[in-house]
Each structure stands twice: as structure tokens, then as C-alpha cells.
């Protein structure tokens, strides 16, 4: 076991003394550095991406081929309706990983290190979110590719698809803050998962991702019709297929603003709070 032996004392002194006195890093630079860390995690644990894309691919295949005929006449027709919603569902679900990752970092003591560094205090949160946005984009690209292979043809063209994806990312960014709050309140990464799923299941399934509003009973239409995920799914569908989407986009942006206005101050306060 000589491979991890310490160097001589002299060499140690020489190496330690070779330090460069750094200039304090700017807020932007610390945020980018912490986003770089998130990228490295994806590089080292690519399973993270696999994990978040297998379920939506399964959903797409199952719903398209099992229910497609019954719901829309043919799988090919149904996927035109379903795919934009699947993108929404996938991204909304994987926002939870923001909270899970934060909770893991807190448990492992990594946040203590970050908090004891002379850096802009919210940078770890923003850096993680920036990394997550990258993850959401990759997951979205994968689902779109599967969709195209299965016959999804968006009439809105590339621009429509990009607009829809952009809107989904904006909403996901806001939603992530909710899981950051949960990530700071509960004890283990597993309970972040279970707690968030209590919110996520109704949010995604009680929406118009899988079937249109008009097929539901009246009381349910009221609930589902006011679900922000429904706004987002409708807006994405319309944008991807080139229909006018103004109303839905505005509703999504208002929901996003409300979530941010509540969640960001709460999360920052919790983050500064000692533990």
C-alpha cells in the first residue's frame, strides 16, 4: 500500500506554498461553476438521464398503442395529441430530482462546505437549477425523437416545438423551487420523492395530458381546467401544432409567476436558516 503514501514534508511544504491567492469569484462565475458540477454528475452517472426518460418512453408507447385506437381512432392520430403532453408530464416529474439532489447534498454535508465558502449564498441553488435545465432539455429531446419515430408530426414546425419546449422549461424552473423547499424540510432523499409525488400524481393525471377536457364530467372539468399542468399541456400542444396559443401561454406564465413569487422567498429563507 505505498500508492497512497504521503510525500516528504519538504515536498508537502513546497506544494502547499505554491498556492495562488484567488480573487473572490463573481456570483455569475460561482453559479456557472456549480452548474458545471451538475453536468459532471450527469457525465459520471448517466443513469440519471436513463432513469428519467425510460418511464415517459414507456408511457408514450403504452398509451399510443393500447389506448390510441380507442381514444383517437388510431395510434398515429393519438400521438399527435399525446406527445406534447408527455413532454410536459416527463419534465414536471423530473423536477423532483432538484429537491432530491439538494437533500442529498445537505445530508452529505456538502452544503456546509458551500455555505462556509465566501461565495454568493444562493449560488448552489441556482447552479443546481441551471444543471437541471440542461437535464430537462436532454430528456425533452429524447422524447421528441421517439415521438418522431412513432409518427409525431408537429404542424407548428421547429419554431413551434422550440417555443413549446421553452415554455415547459420556464414552468419547470419555477416548479423546481417547490421541491427545493421540500428538499430542505424533510430528512431523506426518499421522503422528498414520496412527498412530492403526493402533489405530482394529481397534478399530472388530473390534467388534459392524456384525454381532452370535454370527455370529463362537469365537476372534474372545473378542477382539471384550472390545473396549471393543463394550461401547460394545452399551450404546448397548440404551439407544436401551430394553433393560436396566446391565452394558454399567458395562463402558464401567470402560474409560473405565482409559484416563483411564493417559492423563491420561502426557499431562500429556509436556505439561510441554520440547521
Amino acid at each position: 500500500m505505498s500508492n497512497d503514501a504521503l510525500p516528504t514534508g519538504e515536498r508537502t511544504h513546497e506544494l502547499l506554498a505554491r498556492q495562488v491567492r484567488p480573487q473572490p469569484a463573481s456570483s455569475l462565475s460561482t453559479v456557472i461553476t456549480l452548474a458545471w458540477r451538475a453536468m459532471l454528475k450527469i457525465k459520471h452517472v448517466p443513469f440519471q438521464l436513463f432513469d428519467v426518460t425510460v418511464t415517459p418512453i414507456m408511457f408514450t408507447l403504452l398509451f399510443t398503442y393500447i389506448f390510441g385506437g380507442a381514444l383517437a381512432g388510431s395510434p398515429r392520430e393519438y400521438i399527435q395529441y399525446l406527445l406534447p403532453g408527455i413532454v410536459v408530464q416527463t419534465i414536471v416529474f423530473i423536477t423532483v430530482y432538484t429537491g432530491v439532489g439538494l437533500n442529498t447534498d445537505i445530508q452529505k454535508g456538502l452544503y456546509d462546505r458551500f455555505r462556509s465558502l465566501p461565495i454568493w449564498q444562493p449560488s448552489p441553488l441556482l447552479g443546481a437549477l441551471l444543471g437541471d435545465l440542461f437535464r430537462y432539455s436532454v430528456a425533452t429531446a429524447l422524447i421528441l425523437i421517439i415521438g418522431f419515430l412513432l409518427g409525431f408530426r408537429p404542424d407548428g414546425g421547429a419554431l413551434g416545438v422550440l417555443a413549446a419546449v421553452g415554455l415547459v422549461l420556464v414552468f419547470a424552473f419555477a416548479l423546481s423551487w417547490l421541491w427545493i423547499i421540500i428538499g430542505m424540510l424533510v430528512r431523506t432523499p426518499e421522503s422528498v420523492m414520496t412527498t412530492s409525488f403526493v402533489f405530482l400524481m394529481p397534478l399530472t393525471f388530473a390534467s388534459d395530458i392524456f384525454v381532452g377536457l370535454s370527455t370529463m364530467p362537469g365537476w372534474l372539468q372545473t378542477a382539471v381546467g384550472n390545473n396549471p399542468v393543463t394550461f401547460l399541456a394545452s399551450a404546448s400542444r397548440k404551439l407544436m401544432h401551430g394553433h393560436p396559443a396566446g391565452d394558454d401561454v399567458v395562463r402558464v406564465l401567470i402560474s409560473t409567476a405565482i409559484i416563483l413569487a411564493i417559492a423563491v422567498p420561502t426557499a431562500t429563507r429556509l436556505y439561510r436558516k441554520e440547521r
Binding site: L6, V20, P22, L40, K108, S116, P118, E274
Partner: protein, 320 residues
């Protein structure tokens, strides 16, 4: 200013739990100082307050003249903390962990990479540098964690139980590293439950129990403070120990340490005459003595004398 760290009446409560009840410390610049005490004594709370992670509920603390509450950012610029649990990102390689800290401290990419390489060598991790930290042993992780605290050599380094859970070889390596870091002029404040660790590394130490400093000084002073020597009797036959304990107790009254070794009886003696009395009592009763020594008490015995309980007994009070 000759003190790196000063605290006055430092107090901290978590709800009904009083973790610290008025701690006064004065830690000389450039020294290695030990906070010694059992689990839950309040050691970690002191370190976390000094590293600006917790706000004190009472009293004041300064690090290099900067108030830890009012001037937290200035403190953060001068200190590094290596917490109780190796705070490294296990998904990243050792090198990436160090580059990350370098970048956060404001080094350029090139400087951060160079510093990471240098530190990997200092901490004996050069070969493991490009492996994910999750594959590291406990000792390697701890060394990486301490390495991350030296990306910019801090004026004050906090080490919270730096060798807890390490095997003896790793422990020795960490001790050697702490000595080398101190040789660079860094003030080191370390917490430990191991008395030999404080004895090995720290010039001065404070014994902490239930959120208070119950003794302070050099190892020699602490040993002298209990005003007695320690008698160590080594028996030839473990079966005779209960009989020997009984006899020693009869001669000395109290002062017998509940030692762990099955062949040993240790006790506090005030004079050589007492030791002689013990020896003759044992001889008269036919208890065979293999070895007998009178010497300085160990820090374990100091702790026992000060608190009335052995150092390693975990207290129910939790350290948050």
C-alpha cells in the same frame, strides 16, 4: 492581536436543548487547539458557530478579529471547515472536487487544475485522483475533504472529528497532515473524542462537557490539575482481578478507575506510600502482581476525574 479565536460567554440553544452554556475560549494564532469531549458535549456546535454556519444565541465570538455574526463574510474568507462527515461530492472524481472548490474561490480554470494536482499529491491521492470519490476508502475521503479545505490555505482551519471512524494507518496519516498544515502557520482548531488525539496534536485543549469548558490547558497542565499520580497494577492472572479491585478499593477508598483491560487495575494515588500500601495488601492476599507503575494519569483518567464518567461514554444529548 495574538489570538486567532476568541469567544466570550458563547451560548446556543436549540429549542429547549442548551447545547452551549457560556463558553470562553482564547486560541493563540498559529497553534493547534483541541476541543475534547464526549458526543453531544457541544464541540461541533462551537465549530459550526465559528465557521459561520450557526448563529450563537448568546455571547460573542471573533475569528481573527472579525465578529462571526456581523462580519460573517470576512470570516468565511479566512477559514476552512472540514466537517464531521466527509463533505465531498461522491459522484465527482477527487480532482474534480478540488477544481470545484478552486473555481468557487475564484481561481482560474488553469490555476484550479494546477492546485488540484498539487493537493492530490500532498494528500497521497495522486493515483486515485481521477476515480470517483465514491470508490475511496474512508481515509482517502477524509484526506480529500481536508485537501478541499486547503485549496486556499486558510488562516484558521476547523477540523471536526478528523479521524473518527478511520483505521490506525489512516489516522496516523491524518495526524501527520495536520502537523504539516500547522507548520504552514495555519491555526488549527480540532474537535475529538479521542484523548490520545488531542495529546498527539494539540498544544492546548479545552475539555467540553454539557456545553461548558470544564478544564483548559496543556496536556501536562490538565494531568497535573487532578493533583495525583496514577498507579497501574498489572496482574498475572485475570481471574484475580475482582479480588484485586476489592483490595485496592479497601486501601484507597475511592479513586479506582473502571479500567477496561482485564489484567489491569488503575487507581489515583496521592503519594508513593499509598502505592506501597496497595502492593503489600495485594501480596498479603496472594494476588500475583506482574508489573507495577506509578506515572502521569492518561487523559482518559483526567476526563474521568473531571466529569465522573469515562470519555467515550455517549451522552444522550444530541449534537445538531
Amino acid at each position: 492581536m495574538t489570538n486567532a479565536i476568541e469567544t466570550a460567554g458563547l451560548a446556543k440553544s436549540f429549542g429547549e436543548t442548551h447545547a452551549l452554556r457560556g463558553v470562553d475560549l482564547a486560541i493563540r494564532k498559529g497553534s493547534v487547539y483541541g476541543l475534547l469531549g464526549p458526543n453531544g458535549a457541544g464541540k461541533t456546535t462551537i465549530v459550526r458557530i465559528l465557521a459561520t454556519l450557526l448563529r450563537p444565541s448568546g455571547g460573542a465570538a471573533t475569528v481573527l478579529g472579525h465578529d462571526v455574526v456581523r462580519d460573517a463574510r470576512a470570516v468565511r474568507r479566512k477559514v476552512s471547515l472540514t466537517g464531521q462527515y466527509a463533505s465531498v461530492d461522491e459522484d465527482l472524481t477527487g480532482r474534480e472536487n478540488l477544481v470545484l472548490v478552486g473555481r468557487l474561490l475564484g481561481l482560474t480554470w488553469a490555476d484550479a487544475r494546477q492546485r488540484a494536482s498539487d493537493l492530490l499529491e500532498v494528500f497521497g491521492l495522486a493515483e486515485a485522483g481521477d476515480r470517483q470519490a465514491r470508490t475511496y476508502s474512508g481515509g482517502m475521503r477524509r484526506r480529500l475533504d481536508i485537501g478541499a479545505s486547503l485549496v486556499a490555505i486558510p488562516d484558521v482551519l476547523f477540523l471536526d472529528e478528523p479521524t473518527t471512524g478511520l483505521d490506525p494507518r489512516s489516522r496516523n496519516q491524518v495526524w501527520e497532515l495536520v502537523r504539516r498544515i500547522a507548520a504552514e502557520g495555519t491555526t488549527v482548531l480540532l474537535t475529538t473524542q479521542y484523548l490520545d488525539e488531542a495529546d498527539q496534536l494539540a498544544e492546548r485543549m479545552a475539555v467540553i462537557d454539557h456545553g461548558r469548558v470544564i478544564a483548559e490547558g496543556t496536556s501536562r497542565e490538565l494531568k497535573a490539575s487532578i493533583g495525583a499520580n496514577t498507579l497501574r497494577v498489572r496482574l498475572a492472572d485475570a481471574a484475580q482481578r475482582p479480588r484485586a479491585l476489592e483490595l485496592v478499593e479497601r486501601v484507597l477508598g475511592d479513586g479506582v478507575f473502571p479500567a477496561q483491560q482485564p489484567l489491569e487495575v488503575t487507581a489515583r494515588v496521592a503519594s508513593p506510600a499509598q502505592a506501597a500500601a496497595v502492593l503489600s495488601a495485594l501480596g498479603d492476599a496472594g494476588v500475583e502482581v506482574a508489573q507495577l507503575a506509578v506515572g502521569d494519569p492518561s487523559l482518559d483518567e483526567v476526563f474521568l476525574a473531571l466529569t465522573g464518567k469515562p470519555a467515550e461514554s455517549p451522552a444522550p444529548e444530541a449534537t445538531p
